[in-house]
């Protein structure tokens, strides 16, 4: 598998609306996780770092998505 084939595979993955919705829901979960995971909060710095790291990860993912943005004609049909 060469670079252009890997790029094309990521292009297909990132341009799928289902994948984007999945990441959206996943990160909503990531951001509300401290509600459950840090119930007995002892170290606010840990929560704060977790939060900033998650935010940066999401931005990084958006950056990767922009790198392989194909601008191909979007013909998706979502009519029920």
């Amino acid at each position: 598998m060469n670079f252009s084939e890997i790029k094309a595979a990521f292009q297909r993955l990132f341009s799928a609306i289902e994948f984007r919705i999945f990441v959206f829901i996943l990160f909503v979960g990531v951001f509300i996780y401290p509600f459950f995971g840090f119930k007995n909060l002892v170290d606010p710095w840990q929560v704060y770092s977790y939060f900033i790291f998650a935010w940066l990860t999401l931005i990084g993912l958006l950056f990767l998505m922009s790198l392989v943005d194909d601008n191909s004609e979007d013909t998706g049909q979502f009519d029920p």
Binding site: I32, W55, E73
Partner: protein, 922 residues
């Protein structure tokens, strides 16, 4: 800090922005300008960060902890869906000349005037408080600056009025200068970008000062949190419960929709977009901007709490702390940063509100009342007036009504309004069955519930609320605005979000299923969705006979246009429409008329909005009833000829479109694979050429060795003679000079042979064409084979003029000649008195090089195959049959030809190449 100095700096900053805006308006006309590039597009999104972010976030964080971040996490999450959603919206904007977010919704739902009116009223009501929020911030910070100088306090109102005037000038000069609202505004974008950079820089500078100069850094502040606040104000509240989680999620979703569907955000994201590719860049640059501008918010809020301040005081911490610590310059910068945040938002917001109010309230009113018809010719002036009235209303709101309300609630109230656009837009983009009546039901329900559950109660916040708010209308507790249907415990925002979402979404869904969609609306929806999928406008040109008078129709169009434009502009408008419709004949078909009707309506939409344009064009009866019937009859005839029902026809068209798209994707994939393979083949060809060259050189190796050996013998002999003479002591100067000259001559000969070999064997694939003397090329080439020919007793004749020049790749041409000479010498081995003749001569615009040997020619059956790869008549191990095919490729690369001269009695190969190469056109 001297207030005079501050106001002077403010005036200078405003003048700078004005000058920049003017420069951009005047100089930047090209769509390819950097101002319309991806980075500037991304930065213009930052109009999202108003004073609510700049100052209010700290207050918000102080009050609610990490909940403040949802306003910025929402857009970051929302950016994940920009590619599929925003790009579709941009395509539709380009095709329909959309002017605003309300115009977009109207355009989807059959150009509905009713939807436009409902949304315009809601926007005016919902966004005046939000604008008031910005004015409040400007006035509060200006007041803070002026408070240190009692002499200036009497002029406070005057200064406020001057600032208001400046804002009005900004809005009119950069946002409302042109009638065509769908055009981009370079002046406004330039100003927005500078403001975005200023506020980011100053927010970071202020935050850094407080966190690292006044305190011990982020970690220290965050870790001190448990000693400062009770558990319910922890980073994440400290208590896990459904309501807090729902609050958090609802704020995030509201913010993710607001970043696109607040009218000002829609304007910068959609209307000002010049290329949908920029969306990819904005989807990460803007979230990064949001993270940076909020980097120090929580630590600064904690610092404020540590100092014993209240949440209300926290809103001014960023400006207050540098002032108290004598950092006047920093405070001035922060003041200008806050001012930038406010003025950027106000400019775009007022501009969009005035466009929406004019297009969706005033123009429909002018259609209903003849007394208001004059408004059609005064669109620009109406927008200016609406802008000034909105500024005045916002100012008065903050002065007399909003002064007691916290900044944060004002902003979130507007976010919930913006959210009412989300269901109709998403359903409109992705569900073809969503119809006008369904959308109207959803929008009316959503907007009404927003007013009932959020906006009206907010008016009474802090004051004695009326009974009906506390106990519910007529004592029905289930109808309490802030605990509707018994839902209690949620924040007002989350509560309103819950009910407006359910009713708006449910209204559209059930309404669209319940009410039937008309045939006209179905066609319109299909066209709209086609545009969103990048399927271009389907022309109807071929339909019917050319019998409709263009002049008459042009008069109708002019009569319509002069109601909105002056005569000159109307004529230009008409000419553009005729040009775009490709109408050049005096008589047109009904199909061409349908195209013209569409283009006039679309272009007019760019000025007055799609709903008003649709209404106006219908009123003008550009297509009369008879023509409408003819058009319908023609379609019916087509369908009956094709023997399909309209539904089947549509299915077939959809199928063909899908098929065409599949073919396109497959073609793209095949092209990609083909390019990959072609590159591999090219690489292999290059390797083959190189190995063939080395093989030709190898064949000549014996001769070359001999060629070097002879001069070496001369060197050796001369040196021996010198040695003897030195020993005898009779080395005469004249003899020594002569001997050294001879040595130099022969070593130069060896050097030239080696240089030729190096040049010949180099692997540069496609060097440039250069003018070269042909006799020199012959000399270089023959250096490899003279000795071989001598050894084989071949008589070599070279006939070439000394000044014959040809533009070529010398090494490649040399390779061709060497191949032909090799073949010739192999072919004539064993013949009595063998000879080879190489000749070059001019032949018009070409040079003809012929290599003739004493053979008796090549039989026709072999001559046909001789240039094919791997064809050889040599014995096993003597050649692979690539020499001639590679030579042919090289000669053709030179734009020439190589062939066997069948008319010659001897074996004669001819190479023809142009003297001067044709220049490649990029």
């Amino acid at each position: 800090m001297s207030p005079i100095l501050t106001l002077g700096a403010l005036a200078l900053y405003l003048l700078f922005l004005l000058a920049l805006g003017f420069y951009a308006e005047k100089k930047i006309k090209s769509k390819k300008s950097f101002l319309f590039g991806g980075i500037f597009y991304s930065l213009s999104f930052a109009v999202y960060c108003t004073t609510w972010t700049f100052y209010g976030s700290i207050g918000n964080a102080s009050n609610f902890g990490m909940l403040f971040a949802t306003i910025y996490l929402g857009p970051t999450l929302g950016a994940l869906l920009w590619a599929p959603v925003l790009k579709r919206i941009i395509r539709i904007k380009n095709n329909y000349h959309i002017t605003s977010i309300i115009d977009f919704v109207c355009a989807r739902y059959n150009k509905s005037v009713a939807i436009g009116v409902v949304l315009a009223v809601t926007v005016v009501v919902g966004f005046i408080p939000y604008n008031a929020l910005q004015f409040k911030s400007i006035m509060a910070t200006t007041g803070l600056i002026l408070s240190s100088s009692p002499d200036l306090m009497p002029y406070h109102n005057l200064i406020e009025l001057i600032i208001l005037g400046m804002i009005a000038v900004f809005v009119i000069l950069f946002g409302l200068k042109r009638l065509e609202s769908t055009e981009r505004h370079p002046g406004m974008i330039a100003v927005l970008v500078v403001e975005s950079v200023t506020k980011l820089f100053m927010a970071l500078a202020g935050g850094f000062f407080i966190v690292y100069v006044l305190s011990d850094g982020v970690q220290h502040l965050v870790q001190s949190l448990p000693q400062l606040v009770s558990s319910d104000k922890y980073l994440y509240f400290g208590e896990t419960n459904f309501k807090d989680t729902f609050n958090f999620i609802s704020w995030m979703i509201l913010a993710s929709s607001a970043v696109l569907f607040l009218p000002r955000q829609f304007h910068v994201a959609v209307i000002e977009n010049s290329d949908e590719k920029h969306v990819a860049k904005a989807q990460w640059i803007f979230p990064l901007y949001l993270l940076l501008i909020n980097l120090f918010v929580l630590p600064v809020a904690i610092y404020g709490l540590k100092m014993g301040g209240t949440a209300g005081q926290a809103e001014s911490l960023l400006l207050d702390l540098p002032l108290k610590h004598g950092e006047k310059l920093l405070a001035l910068g922060i003041y200008l940063g806050g001012f930038s945040a406010a003025i950027g938002m106000i400019t775009v917001s007022i501009m969009t509100i005035s466009t929406m109010v004019t297009n969706h309230l005033l123009l429909p009113l002018s259609d209903c009342s003849t007394g208001l018809r004059f408004l059609r010719g005064r669109i620009l002036e109406s927008r200016w007036l609406v802008a000034i009235l909105t500024i005045a209303a916002s100012y008065l709101y903050q002065k007399f009504i909003g002064s007691g309300t916290a900044l944060v609630s004002m902003g979130m109230i507007s976010f919930v309004v913006a959210f009412q656009f989300l269901p109709p837009i998403l359903f409109g983009l992705f569900w073809s069955k969503a119809n006008t009546k369904g959308a109207l039901v959803g929008i009316v329900l959503g907007c009404s519930l927003w007013a009932y559950t959020l906006f009206v109660p907010a008016f009474f916040a802090g004051a004695n609320s009326p009974d009906w708010i506390i106990q519910g209308p007529f004592g029905f507790s289930l109808l309490r605005p802030q605990a509707l249907f018994g839902v209690v415990g949620l924040s007002e925002i989350a509560h309103s979000f819950l009910w407006t979402t359910l009713f708006n979404t449910g209204g559209i869904l059930l309404g669209s299923l319940f009410f039937k969609t008309s045939a006209v609306e179905k066609n319109h929806t299909e066209e709209f969705l086609n545009f969103s999928r990048n399927i271009p406008f389907q022309s109807h040109q071929i339909l019917g006979n050319a019998e409709i008078d263009v002049e008459f129709k042009s008069k109708l169009i002019l009569q319509l246009l002069v109601q909105y434009f002056d005569e000159k502009k109307a004529k230009e408008f008409l000419d553009t429409c005729l040009l775009e419709s490709r109408i050049t004949t005096p008589l047109i078909t009904i199909g061409q008329l349908a195209d013209l009707n569409f283009i006039v309506e679309r272009n007019l939409s760019g000025t007055i909005g799609s709903a008003a344009a649709h209404f106006a064009v219908r009123q003008a009866q550009l297509i009369n009833q008879k023509e409408e019937k003819d058009l319908s009859a023609m379609y019916a005839h087509m369908l009956s000829t094709l023997r399909v029902s309209p539904l089947d026809f549509k299915k077939k068209v959809d199928f063909q479109i899908q098929k065409a798209n599949n073919f396109k994707h497959q073609r793209d994939e095949l092209e990609r694979l083909l390019n990959l393979r072609l590159k591999e083949v090219e690489k292999m060809q290059e390797q083959l050429v190189q190995s063939s060259k080395m093989s030709a050189l190898g064949e000549m190796a014996g001769g070359v060795a001999h060629e070097i050996n002879s001069p070496l013998a001369v060197i050796q002999m001369t040196l021996e003679q010198m040695q003897i003479r030195i020993k005898k002591g009779n080395m005469e100067d004249a003899w020594a000079l002569n001997a050294t000259n001879r040595l130099i001559g022969v070593t130069q000969r060896i050097a030239s042979i080696i240089k030729g070999m190096r040049l010949f064997s180099r692997s540069e694939q496609k060097p440039p064409f250069e003018p070269r003397n042909l006799s020199e090329i012959f000399e270089d080439t023959l250096a490899f084979c003279r000795e071989k020919f001598k050894h084989q007793a071949i008589d070599l004749k070279v006939i070439v003029k000394a000044d014959l020049v040809v533009e070529c790749r010398d090494v490649q041409l040399s390779q061709v000649i060497l191949n032909l000479l090799n073949n010739a010498s192999d072919a004539i081995q064993g013949k009595p008195s063998p000879w080879i003749e190489i000749e070059a001569q001019e032949a018009g615009e070409s040079i003809e090089i012929s290599i003739t040997d004493c053979g008796e020619g090549i039989p026709t059956e072999i001559a046909n195959k001789i240039m094919q790869p791997f064809f050889t008549t040599k014995g096993v191990g003597k050649g692979v049959g690539l020499g001639l095919s590679i030579s042919k490729g090289i000669v053709e690369d030179h734009g020439g030809q190589i062939f066997v001269d069948m008319t010659s009695k001897n074996t004669r190969f001819v190479v023809q190449i142009p003297k001067i190469q044709k220049k490649m056109i990029a």
